[in-house]
């Protein structure tokens, strides 16, 4: 990868994202693409070597146009991603929040102002921190965790109680329910039923609550990383 870049931005100086991407291109091209082989069907936002037209002097608009062009390379599933959430991420300093605005209005960033804001370069770390702090991501995370953690606790408890009950309450387990069926069999079959039910509930929760938002955020994040 573009190791030559290590020395080019001065230490403690604002690192110019676009200039670096362009300058890195020649170095990038031979080693970049195999990392995200398109044949894998894994829709990375496009190989890093792609924006070869983004020479340092080029204004921001063509670069943005280029990014748009890159999107159709992604699979059809990506298309209906509606939530191009432009979260200003209020908690973050302005310079950090800036990447999130880029897909809509790529700001022409005055290097001097930026250098004053953050000592370190805007790199993928900043992008990930900004996305993590964004309300859209927090929503996804909350909806995921608030479903998965209680449910996991519940089914693990239910299973371990079922296993422990064989030893703890053998009399109850032997109680006849209907015909040869007893409570033990009933609970066993209920374990099957609850597993299938929770599988369905989880899939429905993921499909209706998270999938679209996560996909939108995915392309957003990858746009910013490019």
């Amino acid at each position: 990868m573009p190791q030559q870049q290590t020395s080019s931005p001065g230490q403690g100086q604002r690192f110019d994202w676009w200039a670096a991407a362009a300058a890195a291109t020649p170095v990038d091209t031979p080693s970049g693409p195999p990392l995200d082989t398109p044949s894998g069907g894994a829709p990375l936002g496009g190989p890093p070597g792609v924006p070869s037209d983004g020479t340092p002097g080029v204004p921001a608009e063509p670069a943005a146009a280029h990014r748009r062009r890159a999107v159709p390379a992604q699979p059809a599933a990506a298309r209906p991603a509606p939530a191009r959430t432009e979260q200003p991420a209020p908690a973050e300093p302005a310079a950090v929040a800036a990447p999130l605005d880029r897909p809509v209005a790529p700001p022409v960033r005055p290097a001097a102002e930026a250098a004053a804001a953050v000592p370190e370069a805007v790199d993928s770390t900043e992008v990930y921190r900004a996305v993590q702090a964004s309300a859209a991501f927090q929503d996804i995370r909350r909806s995921y965790r608030s479903f998965v953690f209680p449910v996991t606790g519940a089914f693990l408890g239910w299973y371990l109680m079922y296993v422990a009950a064989q030893a703890a309450a053998p009399g109850l387990m032997r109680t006849r329910v209907a015909g040869p069926f007893n409570v033990a069999w009933l609970l066993g079959l209920l374990q099957f039923a609850s597993t299938f039910l929770l599988t369905w509930l989880y899939a429905r929760n993921a499909r209706t609550k998270r999938d679209r938002a996560a996909l939108g955020l995915r392309w957003d994040t990858q746009d910013q990383l490019r």
């Binding site: 230490q11 990038d28 099957f192 990858q222």
Partner: protein, 611 residues
Amino acid sequence: MTSVMTTLMTGAVRNTVTTVLTTATPPPVAPAGDHHSLAIALFAVVVLVTLGITLWVGRQGNAAEDFYAGGRDFTPLQNGFALSGDYLSAASFLGVAGLIALYGYDGVLYSIGFLVAWLVVLMLVAELVRNAGRYTLADVLALRLRRRKVRAAAGGASVVVTLLYLVAQMVGAGSLVALLLGTDSPHARTWTIIAVGALMIVYVTIGGMRATTWIQIIKAFLLTAGSVLLTVLLVVRFHGDLGELMRQAAQHSGAGRRYLEPGLKYGHGFTSRMDFFSLGLALVLGTAGLPHILSRFYTVPTARAARRSTMWAIGLVGGFYLMAIVLGLGATALVGSAEVRHANPAGNTAVPLLALVLGGGNGSTGGVVLFALISAIAFATILAVVAGLTLASSAAFAHDIWAGAWRNRPRRARAGAHARAGARVRALRERGRGRRAEAVPASRSAAGVTAARAAEEPGPGAGEQQEVVVARIAAAGIGAAAIVISLYAQQLNVAFLVGLAFAVAASANLPVLLYSLFWSRFTVRGAVCSVYGGLVPAIVLVFFSPVVSGSKVALFPGVDFHWFPLENPGIVSIPLGFLAGWIGTVTSPEPADPDRFAELEVRALTGAGAA
């Protein structure tokens, strides 16, 4: 051309197998009759078909992505079948039904843990692992904890888990195939182990993940089809009256009503109950840490596909266990517990014997055909599972231990000179966090997501090609080691090994995986402590348990140095794994890196930059 070759090879294989058979003693256990020759022919068909697939598919690509992840282009349905194929070993197919045939309800109790475990996989692991990793479990950890020792620890634990599982499967395969072929001679068993081992090495080294996946798919399809066929025949025989089936099973079990109640197998005293609880805990938590299951999620393109393949797997596994209950009851009702136990003390031949009866009894064409079919399915099951395990093991060795931890070790003298070498960003970072500011931003910002990965992973191209070569060699080496261990262990009672593999997976792999994915303060030291804190107690406790010494069926029956009362260490080692991870983290001198956690969390939940 192909058909001529096929005929020739079939003839050759059949001749070899018949030679083995004719020199062996006549079948002492299975009912008399020549129902084994058709089984042998079908075994040969299974071998030929799987070898054909391997050769055909193996030519489709040689990149690391092909070898480890099958090109990542399988559909959720295909991967769901492959997942269930990886999971339903011969021990499940024949073993669970056999347990139910012998112990009734307690067999059902045993099977449920295997199913509920999939909820952990579905909810906590599948999607996040798919998004955050590339080929192995350690990839997920390395995204956040970029240290070679984390990779080495996780890779080592993965190799231990797969090797334990592999030896259990191969020793089982030896006795099982010998049983299905109607011979009990040690020769047949030895040659079976060698043949199964050689086949799995061929599958993995030539075909990689793609061939292994296709073999799993075919096997899972056959397994499902065979189970459905037998279940339908059985239910029709009982006119759809499952209550009658249960009554008859209880009647022919020799235990009466107690057959349908808990306690026939796991009810002898407090220790036995605790042991089962420990096993249940290991089963339900271990599945999510099994390396060969986790690496399956990389064969689909997206996290959503990983979720849907897990759902398919849950449906198939659940359906399978429901059918196994019916088949186990049917075997007791129609064959009888005494007969099943006489054929094999562990009940492993219950399903084939049931097939013989359902087909019309011994000597009838239907019975012979059905017996041969079920035996061939069991054989395909054995082959597929050992291939999946060997692949996961070789991936853990080549990708984690060799390429991640060994090849990328810091070489200070070379770091400056070879600025372009794939490993140097990592080497720079290894020297200390103070230098990160220089080493990281340029590479990362320039290439974004991929650069971050490049910093962690060795460069593509030559490096990955080399890694795949190492993986193939490792597959051959691990396969050879498994053959040797299995040959040595074939007289031993290794039934506890599967439970142990699940316990190690639950104590060494699952805590570190869950902490990494969900705990923002988790550190490198916590990860290393967590892996070893689960792995070492599990192994040590088993060593000092009754399965190694101090009982008649122990590995070393003559001596007694056991002090741990349980056969399965899960109930102690799993909490220890979690505890060690927590202690390691809170005592860690360096705090967790919030940047890394942000990257992991965003990538895991949204799929940004997923491979």
